[in-house]
Amino acid sequence: MSDSGYAVVTNRLTKRFGKKLALDGVSAHIPVGSVYGMMGPNGVGKTTFVRCLLNMINPTSGSMRVLGFDAVRESVEVRRRTGHVAALQPLWEWMTVQEFADFVASCFPHWNAASVSSFLERVAIDPAQRIGTLSRGQRTMAALGAAIGHEPQLLILDEALTGLDPISRRDVLESIIDVMHLEGRTVIITGQDIADLERICDHIGFLIKGKLFYEGPLEALKAQVKRIMIQHPSGPPPVIPAGVLRVNASERETQFTVSNFTPELLDELAAPGRVVQAMEMSLENIFVDLVRHQLGRGEVLPALHPEVEVTG
């Protein structure tokens, strides 16, 4: 079902809408069993990436395999094993939630009605209620409920947390983690609420201007990207090493973000009269520094995963 332990592997995936390049050679590798957060500002191609995976739109070039299937030629097989909820998912308002679930169930060979009912009960949605009368958040949760009924191996939440209140969001995330992650299934979440993603994701990818400029385990990223704080009350400011992401300097203190932190760097920066510290950064700060740097330089960070060729 997977290619060398990856649920999703794309190889130089490119999608062009006329003159606009939505995806620019994206080579993503999403491990099986991971909760993969794809982050990026608005309009960078996250939804396009998801739609390509499900063959809703055809890539201009490149290839991709999802759950071991060619995502273009075997798209039905891919979708049969995938649950998908998009942002503010429009549904058929004339249906009741139960009718909607029944309709979705009729599209899949296998269906766990109990888990759907349980989910709907947990999020307090009456199955007899018409979708047209649900709030935005409730509609998303109804779609989520239907998306897990066939116990998918891959669940894709495309900005799906948008519009949910904080409590519902947390409930949904926990439910998703319970249902999917603990059973060894893969989740892809796209979005901009980095705090939420940091809480549940173990792998992340940064998509900027259609390019995937970083992808890898969250912990590795955090270990790689650090904030260096140097206090130099009486001495001269330190020499900033090349390749830093962001620099804040004052008379007595200099801070900068490095993307290739090693313990040796602290030794190199150490000097008499200086206090050198490496600080853990939140994912949000890392993201902001990386995005600003990327927008300024267009440099792609080195991949933290082994190269996997996509075949077929």
Partner: protein, 678 residues
Amino acid sequence: MKAIFLKEWRQGHLLPWTGLLLSALTMLLYALWVTRYASTSEEVDDLAGYCVLLMGMGIGVILLVSASGLIAAETSTGAITYLLGLPISRSRMWWGKVFAGLGLTAATAVLLILPASLVLPGIRERGHFLLYLPDMVAGMLCVFAVTMFCSTIFARPLTVFIVAPLIVIGLSFGPVGLVAGSRRSLLGYDEGMADLSLWALVLAPPFFLASWAAFTRGELLDSRRHWWYALPVLAGGLAVVMLGMLSATDRELRYRRSDVASVSQVTLSPGSNYAAVLVAGSRAAFSRTAEQGWRRGGKTRSTTTVLVDLETGGDVMWWPGWREVAASPDGRLVATLGGFPRDGSWGQLQVQQVVSGDVVCGFRTSYVAEESGWTGENRAGTWSGDGKWLACVSYQDLQPAGTPAGDRRRQQKLLVLRADAGVRREVLLGEQERISGTGQDRQPQMKLISPEFIASWQWVPGEEALYLLNDKSELSRYSPAEGRRTVLWRRSGTFARREDWMRREMRMRISQDGKRIAICAPEVVPEEQHAARSHTWVLAVERGRIRRLAEFTVAETRYVPPAWAGDNRTLYLGANLRWEEGQAGPTRVRESESATRRSTAAPLPFGSGMLFSGDRSAAKAFFLDARGKASPLGAIYPALSPGGRLIGIDVQGRLVITTGIEVTALDPKTRAVSRLYP
């Protein structure tokens, strides 16, 4: 596909009930109108026709509503993104939507039409309404295809609702108009409803295909890529259809060109394997009126009838001056009618032996060609099935003393001859008085003097008896052997509601089993010939029941008598929707009476029926095969052999003999045989 079908069905499940509602409204309107309508000069049947029209429009609107939202509604709301994420191939999704849309439309149509058909008297009696169901289905399919196409490429149902009808109208003026406007017959035999239906059928696939390609190959989301598939596929499909249609038209043109030949007549004598054909020199020579005779060098040429051996193409015998020929069923005798005043053969009817040429009997008849009208009847007479009796009509015009010039009194005689004995019986005497018009156009008026005027006559199949239909709508049976006439059936009121000069154009045709009679009765006033109506009735002889089958304008039927197919249930009517352009086509009307269905055990004889269609200058022949399918053959009056085995037509002076739909041409002069069709 099933999931999508059921979803769409659930979504539109209220639509069919609107059909029922519309049906109830129609019936309510009918009930409110019918009393008021009865006090007018219009027929109540016309009111039912308006109700049918109303229902048809209702179905069209419902179809547009149901089809326009099939894809566009989900595109506009964004639900399409969820749909495309489901594990169903796009092709199956598309088919599910198409079937659901068609199913909803069909259910709506049934709920709309069925109650009205059962309740409204006009619709029930005019069963032919349901006979147009295939045409309606074809039209609906075309509209549905166009709407489905628009629903695929446009993102808003309202846009689809507006654009789809415009495209259908555009098609009418575009591809359809391109062929139809060139005054060519699409299939060579039908410019009427069947042609429209055919167009609808052939135009639907390109739109379906383009919709399918756009939905399955296009992206629908975020891009206009589906246009890249839709438009080329549609353009290609329409191009193929157009080429096919134009090609088909070209194939038929060779027959249409033969319209330059004036009207002629072919009579077959299959018993002796001889055919007689009228020629002038080596060419078809003349029309049925001497004034329209073939002229060359300013002279009206005399005509010659030549007896041709079909096997060798050799001439057996020539008879100069004969105008019309009727061969007896056994081929031993031939009745001929002379048609040219200059050679003294005008009105001369004689019966003679085919091989020896010996005259058995003969006498002079008289008729005025320009006023007797073309009826499709052979004026040389019609033979009884056993070949013993010949029936023909004779007209005599008299100028009563003291009347203004132009006023005439016309006598009609129906003559029945015992051919082999030369015995003549005058069956009836009808008399009409023609009074010259006094208005600006001096349109003559006809006044009936005698008690009755025979409108149509035909031998009863397998019997030595004639059915006679008079202008008072009386059907009688005349046995020449007994010399007795019995009225079989009498209709209250005449077929034509107004006194008219065309009543003698009333025609009847007896089905081959003799059980039913089709009667075509025009209704016209002289000043409004263009608006005249022709009603077709079917009389069940044994039960004496009559009902009206169809109604056309006279311009559509144009003197064309109907023809029964061999199943005794199917009636072909000469619907000449563009008669002024010299084009003609059959309209098939099938009886739906239950008694008819019970009497179809007999196998259908091959070539069992013939349609005579068209006006005087451009009649066309159609051959009905055993399945009742009409095939175009030629451009002038054909003749069907008594055994139904052979058909003769004349194409530019060539005698054309056909069995089935294979046509070979025999040139009596050069004896060259060539294949014409297919």
